[in-house]
């Protein structure tokens, strides 16, 4: 499972990505998780299974979907993002990939 996180400058998602990696390891998931600024994320979305956007760039969802070629694009809920709820966010990614 390859998860790509994107935000405005790739700063705040890089906070989240560490917590998500720890959480994925604790759950024994085989997951590659990376964080990038939006424009870089759009370039490399092909290498991932799912793209998750920080709520601050929720407006870019439609645009990102064009780049994603049918792969799921989710906007991380504000409260999960603010509290860095890695468990909840991974669960959402898993649910979206299995849907």
């Amino acid at each position: 499972m390859n998860i790509l996180l994107a935000c405005n400058a790739g700063m705040s998602t890089s906070l989240l990505v560490q917590k998500m990696r720890q959480e994925a390891e604790a759950q024994g998931l085989d997951a590659t998780i990376e964080a990038k600024p939006l424009n870089k994320a759009l370039e490399s979305v092909a290498d991932f299974d799912i793209l998750m956007l920080g709520p601050q760039i929720s407006y870019a969802k439609a645009e990102a979907e064009q780049f994603a070629d049918g792969k799921p694009v989710l906007v991380i809920p504000m409260s999960d993002y603010g509290r860095m709820n890695a468990k909840g966010i991974i669960a959402e990614a898993v649910a979206a990939l299995e849907a």
Partner: protein, 493 residues
């Protein structure tokens, strides 16, 4: 009630319009391009600091002059060439955002079109006249005379002094550097847009037949659109030259200069833009959606101007006091909304357990001006009592810092530092070591804490009341969230 819904309608409309701005491809490209070349400006800033502040502390005389060549060389390749580099980066970012496959061709078109529009003759400042023993070998033993010493023999009319000479075969650093940035933006984006449009026309594709390898065919397919695009720009340059001007000069004097002037006609324009930008973040959308488009390009150009001015040892003119660094170092301490003050208040005065937890999580990134955990976790978003200081505090700090700079109480910003630089250090670096700026930043934080505090109290009281009122409803909500997470983790396992 009716008023509330009207306010809500306004906020919805505002968020919608901002999102549209954030998605507009040329504006997005502009933001991406500036973000891409930011490291170059940061390097330039460091080089300027080292050669103008550090080196004079330890060196003097000829040794200092020789050592400062290092800083000057870096300035030459960064500040004095920023517009050319930006033109190429814009071409690339535009191609990526347009999902145009041949991005490198857009880099070529962007740079080439920009240089095509430059004046072919520049006015060079007069230095010394250099004579060589052989005209063909310029490195042969040379002597140089100050031009002044024989200016009389140039048959100048009475009352005139020689100030410069027309030179061809040269680029002016003002065009390739800071002054050309606005021209680079407009020309590179126009050129890349035209090029991609022409590339999509089947009629312009060269049909080489079945046996030709696809890569060869591709290289021919961009050729005609590239030729046409650049030819159009060449035509434009010729027409403008016939009229006695050039596009770069027109853009610099007609667009860039008025915009820079607007930003420096008091702090008002910048305050209005950042009011809307910070308000937007209160609705959950990143503030740079607005500020990154309306303010940052111009403010960045102003600080680049200042770096170049400082590098050449000149004082910064007052019409450059407002620049990007006033925002990044002095107005958004701890991130948008100056939330470092909110966090410090929470540690010292808050009784809310959940607020303190968020503050603990958010303080470390907050020191580096990253504050999404505060904005979404505390939360500031859609939290009316906190939205007020979140918008108000940066505005006040912009006005106060600008005022203090104009009053000469703190030095103007002359160096662009990374926006992730922690407070006090960022003020010291930005002002090339003015300790008063560091002290001012501490005062700013204290002032911001004082403003935030009553709003935090109101916010906490409102949250408590809501919890008491929602006691009944909350049970259902708890079950719902529990249900959601447990379902998720079962699936994950």
């Amino acid at each position: 009630m009716a008023e509330g819904s009207k306010g809500q309608a306004f906020l919805d409309r505002f968020a919608e319009v901002s999102a549209r701005i954030g998605n507009q491809i040329h504006l997005r490209t502009l933001r991406d391009a500036f973000a891409t070349i930011m490291p170059l400006y940061i390097l330039a800033g460091l080089a300027v600091l080292v050669s103008q502040v550090v080196m004079p502390m330890v060196l003097t005389g000829d040794a200092l002059t020789s050592a400062q060549v290092w800083g000057a060389a870096i300035s030459l390749g960064t500040l004095n060439f920023a517009a050319i580099i930006l033109a190429g980066v814009l071409g690339y970012c535009f191609a990526v955002n347009k999902r145009f496959e041949n991005a490198i061709a857009c880099v070529v078109v962007g740079i080439s079109a920009f240089v095509i529009m430059m004046p072919q003759t520049i006015v060079a400042t007069v230095g010394n006249a250099v004579y060589a023993t052989s005209a063909s070998d310029k490195t042969a033993a040379t002597v140089s005379y100050a031009v002044d010493s024989f200016a009389g023999s140039l048959n100048m009319p009475d009352g005139y002094a020689l100030t410069g000479v027309d030179a061809t075969g040269a680029f002016a650093a003002t065009n390739t550097g800071a002054n050309g940035l606005f021209g680079a933006i407009i020309i590179a984006l126009l050129a890349a847009t035209l090029f991609i449009k022409l590339s999509s026309l089947d009629k312009l594709k060269v049909n080489l037949g079945e046996g030709v390898p696809p890569a060869v065919a591709d290289s021919f397919n961009v050729m005609i659109p590239m030729l046409l695009t650049l030819a159009v720009f060449g035509l434009g340059a010729a027409v403008l030259a016939a009229l006695g001007t050039d596009l770069l000069t027109l853009i610099a004097t007609g667009i860039a200069a008025p915009l820079k002037g607007l930003m420096n006609a008091g702090p008002w324009a910048v305050i209005v833009i950042y009011t809307f930008a910070n308000l937007l973040f209160c609705l959950g959308i990143h503030q740079s959606t607005i500020s990154g488009v309306l303010a940052e390009p111009i403010l960045t150009m102003l600080i680049i101007d200042n770096m170049a001015t400082f590098a050449s040892g000149q004082p910064v003119p007052q019409d450059h006091y407002m620049n990007m660094q006033i925002i990044n170092s002095f107005a958004l301490i701890g991130g948008s909304g100056c939330t470092l003050a909110l966090l410090l208040d929470t540690f010292l005065f808050s009784k809310s357990k959940s607020s303190k937890e968020v503050a603990k999580l958010a303080i470390l990134p907050g020191l580096f001006n990253i504050n999404e955990p505060v904005i979404y976790g505390y939360p500031v978003v859609f939290n009316l009592p906190l939205m007020i200081p979140f918008v108000l505090v940066p505005d006040l700090l912009i006005a106060a810092t600008y005022g203090l700079t104009c009053a000469g109480l703190i030095a103007p910003c002359v160096v662009q530092v990374p926006w992730t630089t922690p407070p006090v250090l960022s003020a010291l670096l930005a002002t090339a070591g003015d300790w008063r700026a560091g002290v001012w930043q501490v005062i700013e934080i204290a002032g911001a804490m004082a403003i935030y505090l009553p709003f935090i109290k109101v916010s906490e009281r409102a949250a408590r009341k809501q919890m008491e009122l929602g006691e009944k409803g909350s049970k259902a909500a708890d079950v719902h969230t529990l249900d959601k997470t447990s379902k998720g983790s079962v699936k994950a396992a």
